[in-house]
């Protein structure tokens, strides 16, 4: 075990890996700072480039963007009350009031320390939890995998239960996309409409790149998201003395990191929930409750530690079960599979060096992003002044060439444009695009596991009720559906009672 760790350590510190993770973190911070872009756009733009690298370097590059995006997102939230990534909205609750009081450095120090601490804590949890979960998952058969995937899918749909019908529709559409082309098991043609190009199917890369890369940039072309560009920072670097002051909230930091990791572990929950839960816990347990919402560094630490712990948390189900927790880890799953590596419980046994490299790389990404922001705070903050529309056009052209470069097929670029149109419509209408991506990613996994399960049961689903883990997971799935619905019904009943009480 130690020799694998040593080999992973050595690989993580190789020049190529360090360059990849630093560059990835840099891109991540840039797209994180720019409101309206976010780490997903950065990841899908770099995705085509990553295919020319070995898997460890490709993963470092993309994980750099993933984590760097959350680091960067807090800066415009603190300085302009405009979150760079959606989850940073919580950071603005206390960060912006501090900026208004002339304490931007205090707020930024707290936010960056929170991001750094949350990231490190979550990687440490990942290192200990992933092997334990993989050990449990090693005894899984196709029925268990199917029920786990089903549970994940239900969690994602229920996370958007205010749009349940839309979520189900998009999940179905994503599943359907995954069936287009030659079926891997029977080699039968499906929905190719007699065309050769469609026989290869709709690859996850052009689908994701279209939905997020093209779709999001079309939104950016249409809407001027950034409304202000007044930034006042007393110095170019972070004020180091403020960092020491922020360290007095170390308990909040650790607690928020742990909350963020476990929220990230659950599919579909996302970083916004992690930020909110961490912030809420910090507020409830703080001796200075009254300061929350009016400007306290503790609020910034809690929010940023919560959202930056999500990437490593989301890696736990991805590495141990092969099930991505969100759209960003779905893209990472694509990197694994394109390199012939299939995440699951055996991955930790089959690829121990790669996994160790991944752990150390994630630790280094947090260090790199923290150091970059600490030293070049003002230059990064100034990025918000770059016109969004100009960036959108440049990103579009990079995306198109990149997507062609993956398989040198113009058909893929056409798919990306079609998905871009769909993504634009869905994003503009506020539909849950994540369920569509989850459908595309989990479609093949679920179909194969479903067939294997039915084969084991001679065509009967009853086999699921003969296995204790499956029964437990089915019960959990049912609870995931029923409990939120009961709670929602209770809330609406209470709401209507209050309304009838106030309107006699």
């Amino acid at each position: 075990m130690f020799e694998h760790m040593a080999a992973g350590f050595e690989a993580a510190f190789s020049i190529a890996n360090l360059a990849a993770l630093v560059f990835g973190s840099f891109v991540g911070i840039v797209v994180g700072v720019l409101p309206g872009l976010g780490p997903m756009v950065g990841m899908v733009v770099l995705l085509p480039f990553s295919f020319s690298f070995p898997p460890d370097i490709a993963l470092s590059l993309l994980l750099g963007v993933f984590c760097g995006g959350y680091f960067g997102g807090g800066i415009p939230a603190v300085l302009l009350r405009t979150p760079g990534v959606p989850s940073s909205i919580v950071t603005s609750f206390d960060g912006y009031p501090l900026t208004r009081k002339g304490q931007a450095q205090t707020a930024l120090s707290a936010a960056l320390l929170g991001s750094f601490g949350g990231g490190i804590i979550s990687v440490l949890i990942l290192m200990f939890l992933a092997p334990a979960l993989a050990h449990v998952a090693a005894s899984f058969g196709p029925p268990e995998y199917f029920t786990v995937a089903l549970f994940g899918v239900v969690l994602v749909v229920m996370a958007f239960r205010s749009q349940l019908g839309r979520g189900i529709m998009l999940l179905g559409l994503g599943f359907w996309f995954s069936t287009v082309g030659i079926d891997g098991t029977t080699l039968s043609e499906r929905f190719s409409f007699g065309t050769l190009s469609m026989q290869n199917g709709l690859d996850i890369v052009p689908v994701c790149l279209g939905l997020f890369g093209i779709g999001q940039t079309l939104i950016l072309v249409e809407q001027n998201i950034m409304k202000t560009d007044h930034i006042h920072l007393s110095r170019s670097t972070l004020d180091f003395s403020e960092l020491w002051k922020a360290l007095k909230y170390w308990k909040t930091l650790i607690r928020s990191g742990v909350i963020g990791t476990f929220v990230g572990l659950l599919p579909g929950t996302g970083s916004i929930l992690a930020s909110f839960l961490s912030y809420d816990a910090a507020k409830r347990l703080s001796p200075e409750k009254e300061k929350f919402g009016h400007g306290t560094p503790e609020g910034c630490i809690a929010s940023e530690a919560g959202n930056n712990a999500v990437p490593a948390g989301a890696m736990i189900p991805l590495l141990t079960l092969g099930i991505p927790g969100d759209a960003l880890s779905a893209v990472l799953l694509g990197v694994f599979t394109i390199n012939g590596i299939y995440p699951g419980p055996l991955l930790l046994i089959k690829e121990p060096v790669l996994i160790s490299t991944l752990y150390f790389s994630m630790l280094l990404i947090n260090v790199a992003a923290f150091c970059m922001l600490m030293l070049w705070l003002r230059p990064f903050a100034m990025i918000v002044k770059v016109p969004g529309r100009l960036l959108a056009v440049v990103i579009m052209v990079i995306s198109m060439v990149g997507i062609y470069a993956v398989n040198t097929r113009l058909f893929d670029a056409g798919v990306a444009i079609a998905m871009g149109v769909l993504g634009y419509i869905l994003l503009r209408l506020g539909w849950p695009v994540v369920t569509l991506v989850m459908g595309v990613v989990l479609g093949e996994i679920m179909e194969n596991r479903l067939r294997e399960t039915l084969s084991l049961g001679d065509g009967s689903f009853l086999i699921l009720f003969e296995r204790p883990i499956c029964i437990f997971l089915i019960l959990l799935t049912l609870l995931t559906i029923v409990v939120p619905m009961i709670m929602d019904a209770k809330k609406s009943r209470q709401g209507s009672k209050t309304a009838s009480g106030t309107n006699p």
Binding site: W176, T186, F191, M396, R451
Partner: protein, 162 residues
Amino acid sequence: MREKSSSSRVHDLLGSALGVFALVMLLLSPWQVDRSGPDPFYKGPLLFPLITLCLMLAGSVPSIIRMVRPGTTQWYLDGHGKPFRAARVLGCLILYLGGLIFAGLEIATFVFLLAALKLVGQDTLVKLSVIPLLVTVILVVIFKYFLAIWFPEPLVMQFFME
């Protein structure tokens, strides 16, 4: 605004369109899925597509009902105006794809950037001259020379060579 947007008929139209699409695919699936193999139905290639299309159809039912019986809902997008600019840039992007075949990476990229920047209002002389040139050079260097990606020979070049 959010509530108004969420219950607008635009959503119902999209939901209904997806439902109709699922229905059409469901009806076409016996012909669009090759079932000639010896596998029983539960191992075959049709089961999962049927499940997914039924799922889509089930999800679209509320939208279809609301589309038929609109009640008080109105046509409303999101308060950010009609998507004319995005449509124009999208048109450029589609033409860019054709341009890659017809004129090649270098010319197509330069012309696309020039046109798209003009369309989005980033049309100062410096931006229009520097950015297209810079991005084109970077893309060509990275993709053609660094990653050695093959790009189709431009049709216009073939024409002149002949």
